[in-house]
Symmetry: C2
Subunit: 238 residues, 2 copies
DNA sequence: GCTTGTCATGCGGGGACCCGCAGATTTTGC
DNA sequence: GCAAAATCTGCGGGTCCCCGCATGACAAGC
């Protein structure tokens, strides 16, 4: 059993390597890659089935790397190990995990014990392990509390990209008016209408304000926008 | 000579503590804080004059913490130690360093040697040390290449907050038309007008598009927006 | 069956935004 | 000190966005 570690921080990388060797004494080689691109190559050439993956790397982030790895071998077991539990990351991961694949999501702030346990659970027992805190985000995200619908989320991403209502309508095969309706739902859920009172009526441009609020609530983050941007170029530019 | 380390990642914290002790054998206590807020308190109570500060922390980020520390003791020497050299961070630091204060900016990807050297230079020799890569950003930022003027940058921030043209005009004591002029300069510098050709005319909403481009070019980042948001609330809400 | 709820769509108006033109004011360079 | 360049400001029009009102389709529940 070989394990691939994809992580751009040198300190974290060696820490992970030690943790892997300690938690899985029966494992063979421990391979390291320092960014998503190299990680993809290593996974392909070394035919690895077990990956520990950081999100948030330059060159190619963890979500994109995981997507291509899973596309080539959907039975690969991936343990995501991230600094943050941003809704954008959680959503991004959930969006790419293939049917029936086993994966895990552990925060870097978790104890070493929890990390080792997750390593064994995911890689040996083929069990999905989601950190408690991430779990909370996930439920909020897919449940009905102040989280967004998938439809609303997609509109939000398109707006954040800077697309026009009309352009979104074309992309999503909707009428102009439907797009605007979804936008209004979005505005309400994001509390864009807050007016501290004294005549601050025309204070906000709702459209850009929505993006700002989404960013500071971590519903969106820069890497999610970059991913969407690439998708856009690909589908539009061909 | 006591040294305060403000850093939220446990691994990096212990690594830093060791590096400090190795580079400055003559130093006294090495105090650690795990976020910006605790860092401020420690700096105040322990009367520290030498700080190693991470940017990008939850609770209160490094720039805000540094600002309050410097406000209380402008002669504090601060070495910033960050993962990224985003233009937004560089600008944020440059914006708060007091007249004549000594500070440094080293990337986490730098070698241990470089870190130790910077520690001695800043804390003992009172010399400013800016990482080569960061230096590049700084020049681009203040020079005249595709970097933004301060005026343009401020407009950009206000737009990213979701403010109306009118609201920005009031805040900045300008006429509506001047704000729109600056916006146009901004649009040109950010290459918002790119149209791949085939009839993509009304594709982008320039205003939100500008924010998207600025984010993916790292001219802006989420924490800069959050800071601006707090400033806004403070100046408007009173 | 009828009601109720959710969603997509159309219409129309008021307002915000983008931008060319042109004059006034300030800054810069020599 | 003067000319050139940059910046601020007003006007006007074309476009896009926000949103209330109204219609029809489809599903769930009494």
């Amino acid at each position: 059993m070989n394990v691939l570690i994809v992580e751009d921080d040198a300190l974290h990388r060696t820490f992970l390597a030690e943790a892997v060797r300690a938690a899985l004494p029966e494992c063979g080689q421990v391979i390291e890659a320092e960014n998503g691109l190299k990680g993809e190559v290593q996974a392909r050439t070394a035919r690895v089935e077990h990956v520990v993956m950081d999100l948030q790397m330059s060159e190619r982030n963890g979500i994109e790397a995981a997507r291509t790895i899973w596309r080539e071998r959907p039975d690969t077991k991936i343990l995501f190990w991230s600094n943050y539990s941003d809704e954008a990351y959680v959503r991004g991961v959930a969006r790419i995990v293939p049917e029936g694949a086993t994966y895990g999501y552990v925060l870097k702030s978790a104890s070493e014990e929890r990390l080792k346990l997750a390593l064994r659970s995911v890689f040996v027992e083929s069990q999905c392990v989601i950190d408690r805190e991430v779990r909370g985000i996930q439920q909020k995200s897919f449940g009905n509390s102040p989280g967004l619908t998938d439809a609303e989320y997609e509109i939000l991403v398109d707006v954040a990209l800077g697309l026009t209502d009309k352009a979104i309508a074309k992309r999503k095969h909707l009428s102009l008016r439907s797009v605007q309706n979804r936008l209004q739902q979005l505005y309400e859920k994001l509390d864009v209408y807050e007016t501290p009172g004294q005549g601050n009526e025309g204070l906000f441009n709702l459209r850009t304000r929505a993006v700002a609020v989404a960013l500071s609530r971590k519903v969106l983050n820069a890497s999610a926008i970059e991913r969407a941007e690439r998708d856009l170029r690909q589908s539009a530019g061909i």
